[in-house]
Symmetry: C2
Subunit: 172 residues, 2 copies
């Protein structure tokens, strides 16, 4: 049985585990440098930079007293659309443990996010997908989402970012 709940500060270790599992699935196992302290600082203070929805699962055969297991998560925050003039719900990470797929857990998370978006007045629910992740693309399209082929993501980090930030100082 599926139960969804917002994560709290005591969940940072399971959130970080799920972030790592997803990075492995995305073929970037060493990409995660985030720590529990980072997530605690940024997600559970006075002005959280993100929200997390946890999916807990309990098999009907399990005794009810045993704590349900966290088997998936949705990590999201609010972006802004200048064309729409509203916040958009931006889904950064969605993941269900391979052992628990095919039970509607991903759908349950997506539906809960759509409700959160609508309740907040967002007109858009958006995310990104790796172009080789055909099962995910099919799933999203089955929900009525559109893959926007012409937008490319651009990123600057590390030395390039430092150099650009410092570059103008000597120019006066």
């Amino acid at each position: 049985m599926l139960h969804l709940r917002p994560a709290t500060a005591t969940d940072v270790s399971v959130i970080l585990e799920l972030i790592r599992e997803l990075a492995i699935y995305e073929r970037e196992p060493d990409a995660v440098v985030a720590t529990e302290a980072d997530l605690l600082r940024d997600g559970f203070g006075e002005r959280p930079a993100f929200q997390v929805l946890l999916a807990e699962w309990r098999d009907p055969s399990e005794v009810a007293e045993r704590p349900a297991r966290v088997v998936g998560f949705a990590f999201y925050f609010y972006a802004y659309s200048t064309w729409v003039g509203r916040e958009s719900l931006h889904l950064e990470d969605l993941f269900v443990l391979p052992s628990h797929r095919g039970r509607g857990i991903g759908l349950g998370l997506m539906r809960a996010l759509a409700r959160i978006a609508v309740d907040r007045g967002c007109r858009r629910f958006q995310w990104q997908v790796l172009d080789w992740n055909t099962p995910a693309i099919r799933f999203y399209e089955s929900l009525g989402a559109r893959v926007l082929g012409e937008w490319q993501s651009v990123r600057m980090e590390g030395e390039a970012l430092e150099a650009l930030a410092k570059g103008g100082e000597s120019e006066g």
Copy 2:
């Protein structure tokens, strides 16, 4: 001469004009449904959903008493990277009026944003670009940014979003 300044509530009409100019450039002239009231509500209240940097330009020949003209803008907010465990500066819109290109105004805005990102502790500065916008892609790459080809943007809105949000209610 270029002068950059953060926008205030009194700038919403010029911000909306620039958003519209950019939408025309992006071949979506009718896409902007945002109003000044939307921008005022979401950007200049207690918890702004976005920030705007305005580029003002004054020709050396112009009398100093005449107000400088707003000729470009950068519209941004903070996203979150689960891998890095930090906020990322997300640039949503960057635009310089065609009449004022080639004067380093875009570079000035990008440099100011890089500084804001570094000062806030962001490890990433990110944005999106249309795949046919070769001049922009060349400019970004000249700054050391990388175009991430394998990430596709996905969006759900309108009836699909409403349907997903409502879909689960009858399932109990």
